[in-house]
Symmetry: D2
Subunit: 320 residues, 4 copies
């Protein structure tokens, strides 16, 4: 089968032929890929930023945002059947450790993460396990924001445009979108932004102005690098919460500021399985629309380049 | 009356004569001071670190940890009477803004903070308002830590020794105390520490070892400078929480680490009025014992020097 | 001034002349009434159901849902000024007990409740205190209901029609409105109901059907008598929550059912001051519209009769 | 093998020979029973109270509190091995429904409950599945109770004596134990009770007295029948929480009282798998001691009789 494989950090991946995956464990599921998203994390993988976290040996297949149809199942798989249309939670988990038992999928002590720590879905087939499979008919954990509050969303790209719609669907907060692209800001209005602020050097002042000089109760940062963090911290109100989602840069705050204003920083890694199920429910209800751009698998590097150069709106999807 | 007053940043304060405070508003309360604690924040005030936060003009009277007896009250004061024994919440609040109405005293929009933004309690008398006064018979907000978890306390000094006892009283977590002074570690055992770790270069490795290589669910940092932060972040488990209480240093973490492990950073500023009431209850129940060292008001600088040089155990209290 | 006063339990109140209230305490506020709502609680007061709770001696003035303009203030009142347009939280509170300090206004240990325990607002003037006054520009505490959940609202009357709109504004849950009046059900659609169910003997079966046989995650009961409770409990899903708001009837459930399905019953009394502020914010944002029916003060008993006989849509407001 | 089997509701069970269970599914686990507890639920099963909930056809084997050693495992079982010492969570769950994914084991949509809906552990062997098995080295979910609060525990029997110790280990609340047996009250002191109250007709008045006339913040009712509920509701403070654990009786409260005082009723069914793990941790730490009384399997009815007649202290355990 065809697959988009990374051979060397710092170089674009290669589309090449590899062997199809085979069932080896009782909970294995092989999925025929319908589409695989291209994410900023793929850029970070390619540049080598995640090398120490993944611990994987090159070459391997990229692709951690996957959907398709169940193609083959292991002997103990009972909740999905061959032919089912499915979206995949990025991480397959054991189901038995205390974190899994508590519903904290992302903190499983024996995880596998296709496209990151094992072969991913930018290919014809992908092997995962039954606990990672969501049958299609599904929540994004968002902060509780009461009426009269304001939330800043930094970045209206592949994840940010979903986050804006989820905030609108799940909370009565007023949403301020901060973004470098005038075109993306335009779209943000249609996704539910109450205010849009262009990153032009005056963004912090403008957010302060919109929030009567006090800052926002929450900053949801889908960028996490290149000045976004410094901006975001400056946009926080007393006792406000900073949700770190995008990454790459450095959080750098005097402890004095943290205690004097009781601001909080919250790490967010993918979200739980049930969060993905709830997001699919919002999509089915028409409250969230995914803005996507299809590319054939062979054109994987075109999609990667479009994302890297800031030309992409919404999410690029590779179709095998 | 006598008062300990700061005339110049970077210089020790001076004990001198000043006029007694007078009632001017309907909710004013004048307290005859029984004792005023010396806190690391006083060192930070003296060195000028808080200059921009306080906005105060020198000279003024230090002292934000105060207790004593009600001496005089304003026309609308009804819940305390002259002669009552009281401990003072550091901040006086308006009672009417949405934060006060929600119980979040520390985020009052019209606060005054004796010893920080107005004249404090290292003196014979102090003026505050009725909402800051706790009649003596009282919780420290601590993280919820379930059985089988471990929490690291960095610093077993004036606040840390209270924090250790509160953790013991309020949670079933196992407590690891990390501290530079062998003498303070010895005392920490009697306050409820399950493990003690000397800061000698091997402290991170030792905490990792105690937590089976995984780190602790919570780090409660009463130091916040001089290497404590880097240590503390390294001691955190996946999805762990870092409570910033001590300050002076810089939090400096790659956003990648924050998202990959979903660690959180929580700012803590003083605590709520009701927290102070709960702490006084624990003290009355004998579950928390304050380890104090009395100094006459005239010897204020001896106490400040003992704290600054690391010779103090527990909390120094100035007695006018 | 004119006032609507109750002289005998079991008899309609009388509109008569009484003396105007006077300022006696430093935090008193006298409000010139613009309008006073007529609530099912007024019916319960008239029938004597609340006699033992209020402890008041007849006659006295009814009216606990009040709005108007500040007419006169006590010596310590600073956050409102004469002439301000205000809505009144029903209960005036002390601001100093531990419940007030924690933001739990409704559990103040020294409360006064105009129209219930002291003279109310169906009159030209009303006396309350500054902590009960909301300046007009302001959440209804609602259960957290995630995407894919369903909530049943029983009763689309004076409170219910606000509850439906708040659920729509604050949560992504799907709303099932259960109500006796076809006309009110029609309006419920415009307030945001996703499903409407007429009380005709098949209501429980219909809700079960809408929820795939499982019942709803939450039942919010604005009726609380006459079969509504039995219906509501039958409409609950495993681990569901029953919010008791309307009252008059009896909750009567075997403990076996409570433990076997882990259902919960939550008492709700008025809501906090900040909840009222948030509700006013939703109104200002256009997300909640109050459906009201004005009556002159002299026609108080017409309004009471319309409510009692089920002819009223939304809330009747008495205008002095 | 030998088993304690119920043939007719209303009659004591019979100890008789039955076939040993066999592995049929990939996640099955057969446990050689070391001991099986005798619980008031067994009495309720025998008297037929749970007939409609269990839906089981007689005869079948009782016993839902089980511990022992892994004897045989299915093809997909990987987290326990033959010979492991284990305690069993009462309910075996699917691991894939949204409730299991959220950590809410007790609300699994495809559960099996040995000793209740399938054959139980009062026998030589028991069949369950791998998700119900806790390897021995483990929390009881208890209400958050801050310093200065008081909690009433009704019933110091088989579950109650564990509850008292967990409250002591997990919270700083003061514990009031209410119980019919003077001997059990004596033991309750050693388990951590701060106050003990004999059920002699004055119990409500005594609890009111201990709580300064206000009632307790929480009532944890391990009895749930025979006057305990009426007593418990009367012992609640404003905004207090009533945890229903024991059952058999009827909750019967006017909705007026629920809303006027904002009291809450919370259903509790067994607890989560992780709760059992935490409880085993507390036991391993010596903070909770189980008070047990061993009986041979053949003497099952002696144990049942001792429980039924109120002569038992702690928990009776059947040893095959």
């Amino acid at each position: 089968m065809k697959a988009v494989r990374l051979h060397h950090y710092g170089e674009y991946p290669v589309v090449e032929e590899v062997a199809e995956p085979k069932i080896t464990g009782p909970h294995d599921v092989i999925v025929r890929i319908g589409g695989s998203g291209v994410c900023r994390t793929d850029l970070h993988i390619i540049e080598g930023l995640l090398k120490d976290f993944s611990g994987i040996t090159l070459p391997y297949t990229l692709g951690h945002e996957n959907a398709g149809w169940v193609h083959e199942i292991g002997s103990a798989v009972s909740h999905v059947a061959i032919g089912d249309t499915v979206i995949l939670h990025p991480q397959s988990t054991c189901g038995f450790c205390s974190e899994c038992r508590a519903g904290n999928d992302m903190h499983c002590t024996s995880p596998a993460f296709p496209g990151f720590t094992i072969d991913g879905g930018m290919a014809t087939f992908l092997k995962t396990t039954d606990r990672a499979v969501v049958k299609l008919d599904s929540s994004l954990a968002v902060p509780i924001l009461s009426p009269g509050t304001k939330a800043v969303v930094i970045g209206a790209g592949g994840l940010g445009h979903i986050g804006i719609q989820c905030l609108k669907a799940l909370t009565p907060t007023e949403i301020i979108v901060v973004e470098r692209s005038p075109e993306a800001l335009e779209l943000a209005r249609s996704w539910g932004a109450d205010y849009t602020v262009l990153v032009d050097g005056t963004q912090v002042a403008k957010v302060k102005d919109i929030t009567n000089g006090q800052g926002a109760q929450a900053v949801i940062d889908f960028v996490g690098e290149g000045g976004a963090i410094e901006d975001g911290v400056s946009m926080l109100r007393r006792a406000g919460s900073y949700y770190v989602i995008g990454y790459g840069g450095q959080l750098n705050v005097p402890t004095l500021n943290i205690i004097a204003t009781e601001i909080n920083f919250i790490g967010n890694f993918v979200g739980k399985y049930n969060d993905l199920v709830e997001l699919m429910t919002l999509k089915a209800q028409g409250r969230v629309t995914l803005h996507t751009m299809p590319y054939p698998l062979d054109a994987a590097n075109d999609a990667i380049h479009a994302l890297d150069s800031g030309q992409l709106r919404g999410r690029a999807i590779l179709i095998p």
